[in-house]
């Protein structure tokens, strides 16, 4: 069913990660991603993977949920791994395995370098995804938006409508479940009139979705107009002077988190220098 889609996957909890300030979490997630790209050999990669796993444990989000968030990119990981395995060949590489194809004398060569790159890339992608899903698992969408708004505040001086963007994001997130429910309802109504959404050629199926999409857009526009009226009648103007209901405050644990990430960065750079970069 279409309800299976989860966006803004928050896992309610009270772990140290949950209690961190949203701004700090956003900034540190970004920093962590940079660290992942800085890392250049298996030692630093190992350190990063350990740190990511430690964060996952600290968040107390069930392992099953974390695995589920990794599932969408399995195909991507497999694809890049295969490419890396097969396409890293030149004079300086060491062949690990040769598979002759009985076709025009082609031979598939798996090299040691290819295997390294494949493993390296896979671990990197997994770490990236794990850290970013930890951010959304431990931060409510509204706190995320508030955090983002605060971080982008400086742009308001350049007349960028930061508050309006933040409001747009909040509203979009708020209406995702509503739209999913509505889609479900309209799909059921049209199925009851015999529309066939499951079988047929691609073109037929795209055409079968017109009776779902048209009512969906009509009601989305109607909802938008109603919401705009409701907001304007409560004097919403979209200026940058609005204050948030929940005030963000940096506490000791946020600075501890900051130091931990800085330490990680230091560790990774040291390991890079010490053992050399291979990627």
């Amino acid at each position: 069913m279409i309800r299976d889609i989860t966006i803004g996957q928050y896992f309610a909890g009270d772990s140290p990660l949950h209690r961190c300030d949203a701004r700090m979490k956003l900034a540190l997630t970004f920093a962590f991603m940079i660290v992942i790209f800085v890392c250049g050999n298996f030692f630093s990669l190992g350190l990063i993977a350990l740190a990511a796993l430690a964060l996952a444990l600290l968040s107390r989000v069930p392992g099953g949920m974390l695995l589920r968030s990794l599932r969408p990119i399995v195909m991507l990981v497999v694809f890049t791994s295969v490419l890396n395995l097969l396409y890293t060949t030149d004079e300086n590489t060491h062949a690990l395995l040769q598979i002759p194809l009985h076709f025009r004398g082609w031979v598939i060569t798996v090299t040691r370098e290819g295997a390294f790159t494949a493993i390296f890339t896979t671990v990197r992608i997994l770490c990236l995804l794990l850290v970013s899903s930890l951010l959304t698992y431990t931060t409510t969408p509204s706190m995320l938006t508030a955090g983002l708004e605060h971080l982008l505040k400086p742009l308001a001086k350049l007349r960028v409508p930061v508050a309006a963007f933040a409001m747009m994001m909040t509203l979009a997130l708020r209406f995702v479940p509503t739209l999913v429910e509505e889609t479900d309802r309209i799909m059921n109504a049209q199925k009851s009139r015999g529309s066939n959404l499951e079988t047929g050629s691609l073109l037929q199926r795209v055409k079968a979705f017109v009776p779902v999409l048209v009512p969906l857009f009509i009601s989305a526009f109607r909802r938008a107009a109603e919401l705009a009226n409701a907001m304007e009648s409560r004097c919403y103007t979209g200026t940058n002077e609005r204050t948030g209901m929940k005030q963000l405050r940096l506490r000791a644990r946020d600075y501890i988190a900051l130091s931990a990430v800085l330490l990680l960065l230091g560790g990774v750079v040291t390991l890079n220098v010490f053992f050399g970069k291979i990627v």
Partner: protein
């Protein structure tokens, strides 16, 4: 099995997959037989599973246990049977006006019949018959659905289901959000549909007046159980139990019950305003 039974449910159980593992079943062993040509009203507190129940009748939902028989045929026997059930049972959802999508009302009503792959002449005939049945002015047919009033949209949407000429017509709260005039027209439409086609109708309603005025039989759902099943007289006689389930009897029935408690000699079995009028005339 009885040849005059149109819809039969046997020990129907259902649980929404996202309710969690130990969430209670939304439907717990509902067994029911609806006689062909009769009107069954389904009543129940909000969240009691009425909409969930009727979505089983045209195979939108698959029961976790139990069977659904339409005209004696198990609708989950195979893929073909599912599709057949979609056309045999016309399901009209709550607020069906949101399903309109075509450029003209006429095309929208024709959507179901077109999916049935009927010949063009038959489709046109059905569209006009359905529009007549629901009381939709022929002048509205070439208009865009967006230009209709709320009540007209509702009737156009119902016509879209009626045009499939289903053996069983299921209406989920068709009078929700309508004014008294719109409700009267919806009642007239249901009566006309039954008179002219003789088909079975299932009606979900929160209005006990609607139920008393239209139903042959009443099914009371309470947290997924079939709590009562009988004629309106049998069901509305159990006022205390209904109230315990968050339901009520029609307002006139309550008035007449109070009158009897005060010692006025009026009949207890009064469910509609017409019956009340008659009873009072008898007193005078």
């Amino acid at each position: 099995m009885n040849a005059s039974v149109s819809v039969e449910l046997q020990e129907l159980c259902f649980r929404y997959p996202h309710g969690g593992k130990d969430a209670p079943h939304t439907l717990e062993g509902v067994t029911l037989a609806v006689e062909r040509g009769s009107l069954l009203a389904i009543i129940g507190h909000t969240g009691s599973g009425k909409s969930t129940l009727v979505q089983h009748l045209n195979a939108l939902l698959k029961p976790s246990a139990g069977t659904v028989l339409i005209e004696g045929k198990n609708i989950h026997e195979n893929k073909h049977a599912i599709r057949e059930a979609r056309f045999r049972v016309g399901l009209c959802f709550q607020y069906p006006e949101y399903q309109l999508f075509e450029e003209t009302v006429e095309k929208d009503i024709a959507y179901g019949p077109k999916n049935m792959e009927l010949p063009a002449g038959e489709i046109a005939a059905r569209v006009h018959r359905a529009a007549g049945l629901v009381g939709l002015d022929a002048a509205l047919l070439p208009k865009s659905p967006l230009e209709l009033s709320g009540g007209e949209k509702r009737r156009a949407a119902v016509a879209g289901v009626v045009a499939m000429e289903p053996q069983v017509l299921v209406l989920d709260e068709p009078t929700a959000g309508l004014d008294p005039h719109g409700r009267g027209q919806m009642h007239a439409m249901i009566r006309r549909f039954r008179r002219e086609t003789g088909r079975t109708v299932l009606l979900i309603s929160h209005s006990m007046e609607d139920v008393a005025a239209l139903a042959d039989r009443v099914l009371v759902l309470d947290r997924g159980h079939a709590a009562m099943h009988g004629t309106p007289a049998q069901v509305f006689a159990r006022a205390a139990e209904l109230e315990a389930m968050g339901l009520s009897v029609p307002p006139v029935t309550r008035i007449f019950r109070l009158l009897r408690e005060k010692g006025v000699n009026v009949p207890a079995e009064v469910f509609t305003v017409a019956q009340a009028e008659e009873a009072i005339r008898g007193l005078l």
